[in-house]
């Protein structure tokens, strides 16, 4: 019990937030461990930003409790919480230099001047912006502004760092670079971090654990790999990456899938329930071969419907030949191992899809 408290930096207990009777955040329970980067991932309007703003203190929960290091912060205003936030727009004070921006928070704590200068130099070094300390924010590029914003929010050594859409204002190329860099800096400081993003790649690159949110509720919490490989609902499966779903039913341990012609056998980890479900297959876990010979299980025949060459891999759409799923289109990713393709596919070519039983994920259907 005690041990759990030490490891838990932030506890969100049954928190709801209503705006005019509409639940923006709906009975959310979360435990965030010390030193981890935790991502709240979801589409717009899913409540992730409201949850973040409640952690910062800009919104008050309608019910529930928020504890930081075991102490409830419900009644402390933003300026008394050991929480600092990096805003989506960075919110650097335009009339202050980089140095003054970073010193702002330290000055509020009435630290001695020498100590402030030392700490400012330290965090500027951390984000490699020492050379720019006397510049105004408008004289910096987007990436540099982000580093300053990060430095400012780390300067006070917060118990919890919040990132609101950290890459929202950057272009795509810079984004990839900054994601890794930001994650490295945060990990080297060892601060607990909650980030909000709508970009699954960003969440998977930066976060140790991800919570998928929809309509104010948490759908699934887990490491990026868990969420990708073992989605627990249709929504998370479709939100993260692309996936092929086939309607199926489990009864008495027997899986029947009408939309696929052959017998479908799933890995043992999955089939522990009864009722309607989906057979879920990730496109990169399906093998594609020319020909017509079918095995008894975990395969299907079809014709090539569409081919998209994406450089690193091809996305091939195959229309199924037989079964109740006739005409259903399945997405398959085929990686380009060799520069000169040894095996190419043509439109309307007959092909066979096959997959390992480990690749099959069974997702319980929410609605029949």
């Amino acid at each position: 019990m005690n041990d759990a408290k030490v490891h838990c930096a932030v506890e969100v207990v049954n928190v709801s937030k209503y705006f005019d009777d509409v639940a923006a955040v709906d009975q959310v329970n979360l435990k965030i461990n010390k030193g981890e980067i935790f991502a709240l991932l979801g589409g717009s309007g899913c409540g992730k930003t409201t949850l973040l703003r409640m952690l910062a203190g800009f919104e008050k929960p309608s019910q529930g409790d928020i504890k930081i290091n075991g102490v409830s912060v419900l009644n402390s205003p933003p300026y008394q919480r050991p929480v600092n936030m990096m805003f989506q727009s960075y919110a650097l004070f335009p009339h202050m230099t980089v140095e003054q921006n970073i010193a702002f928070g330290l000055k509020q704590d009435k630290l001695p001047a020498a100590q402030i200068v030392a700490r400012v130099t330290e965090v500027l070094g951390l984000v490699q912006m020492e050379k720019f300390r006397s510049r105004k924010p408008a004289q910096l590029s987007g990436g540099q502004q982000q580093r300053v914003a990060l430095a400012r929010s780390l300067a006070k050594k917060p118990a919890l760092l919040l990132l609101d859409e950290p890459m929202g204002a950057l272009d795509k190329k810079l984004r990839m670079q900054m994601q890794l860099e930001l994650a490295n800096i945060i990990e080297s400081v060892g601060v607990t971090c909650v980030m909000v993003t709508h970009d699954q790649e960003e969440a998977m690159t930066m976060a140790d654990r991800i919570a998928i949110m929809d309509q104010g509720r948490i759908m699934q919490v887990g490491q990026p790999r868990e969420i990708y490989e073992f989605p627990n609902s249709k929504l998370t499966a479709e939100f993260i990456g692309s996936i092929n779903l086939f309607k199926a039913v489990v009864s008495g341990g027997e899986l029947t899938c009408d939309e696929l012609p052959g017998q479908v056998v799933a890995g043992e980890a999955n089939a522990a329930f009864d009722g309607p479900c989906y057979v879920a297959l990730r496109p990169e876990k399906i093998r594609l071969e020319a020909g017509r010979n079918l095995d008894a299980k975990n395969c299907a025949a079809g014709k090539v419907n569409d081919i998209a060459y994406l450089g690193s891999h091809n996305v091939i759409h195959v229309r199924l030949d037989v079964g109740a799923g006739q005409g259903k289109v399945v997405q398959v990713h085929v990686s380009n191992f060799a520069r000169h393709a040894t095996q190419t596919f043509d439109f309307e070519q007959s092909v066979v899809l096959s997959w390992d039983q480990d690749a099959v994920v069974l997702i319980k259907a929410d609605q029949p």
Partner: protein, 271 residues
């Protein structure tokens, strides 16, 4: 193209030729405003000795300055409440009552304020007599409307996450207002101040209603003296004003220009 040029020129002449004539005739020797005799600066010297005009000038300046300061103070508070406090009961009433003096005819404003001051004087014994104080109150009531609009628009376009960031970093709401909000809206405060100053200096109608004996503002003195016949002294005074306004607005324009060019250079330096 050609025709529009001429039209523009004609418009400018129509607007500024009278001003030019006024300036030229301020250096006229003759007492008659319409007949040019020879160059002299004697009307400027006489102007300095005219106690009534100079008193009125300083009174107007005093009222205009204090009106500007008070309007900026009240206008900032009103704008802050309107923009930052979200919806509150009576918000629409509050905002329309602040804006109302903009569309109210000056005569109505002046008359109603006069009635108010007379009524208050009878009831409470304050204001005992009308004068600089009542003019100041009247000027503040209508200047606040303009100042509030200027500051409201600036506050609205300000990124509110700046204030949240300051609060997040440990600044109390009062500190945030003083250290973040005020500096960021300062251009609006300055232009609001100038606007209120000009409005107050310029006002004749409302001041005539609410002024009392011995407290005539400059526009009132000029207006009454012109009725008795135009003296070239007025020309001299007007010339001084035009000069001051030209210099003032040039300095304002120049500093604004420099400021925008500076920030534009910085923004383009980003890429």
């Amino acid at each position: 193209m050609k025709i529009s040029r001429y039209l523009l020129l004609a418009g400018l002449v129509f607007l500024y030729f009278p001003l030019l004539v006024l300036v030229i005739y301020s250096f006229n020797e003759s007492r008659l405003v319409t007949i040019w005799t020879e160059f002299s600066v004697k009307w400027y010297l006489e102007l300095l000795e005219d106690r009534q005009l100079m008193d009125a000038f300083f009174l107007s300046l005093q009222i205009a300055c204090s009106t500007a300061f008070m309007s900026v103070l009240l206008g900032t508070i009103a704008a802050y409440v309107l923009v930052k406090f979200g919806r509150f009961p009576g918000q629409t009433l509050f905002s329309s009552m602040i804006i109302a003096p903009l569309v109210m005819p000056e005569v109505i404003t002046g008359l109603s304020l006069l009635l108010l001051f007379v009524g208050l004087g009878n009831w409470l014994g304050w204001p005992a007599s009308r004068g600089a104080m009542t003019i100041w109150i009247a000027h503040v009531t209508f200047s606040v409307a303009f100042v509030t609009i200027v500051i409201t628009s600036r506050l609205r376009e300000m990124d509110s996450s700046l204030e949240e960031a300051a609060m997040d970093l440990g600044a109390t709401p009062l500190k945030v207002f003083l250290v973040i909000t005020l500096p960021l809206i300062s251009p609006a405060l300055i232009s609001g101040w100038l606007l209120a100053f000009t409005l107050s200096l310029d006002d004749l109608v409302i001041a005539s209603f609410v002024s009392g004996p011995g407290s005539s503002t400059l526009p009132m003195v000029i207006y009454s003296s012109v009725r008795l016949g135009v003296s070239p002294k007025i020309n001299a005074l007007a010339t001084i004003f035009v000069g001051l306004i030209l210099v003032g607005s040039f300095v304002f324009w120049w500093s604004m220009q420099r400021w925008t060019r500076y920030s534009a250079a910085k923004t383009s330096g980003q890429q």
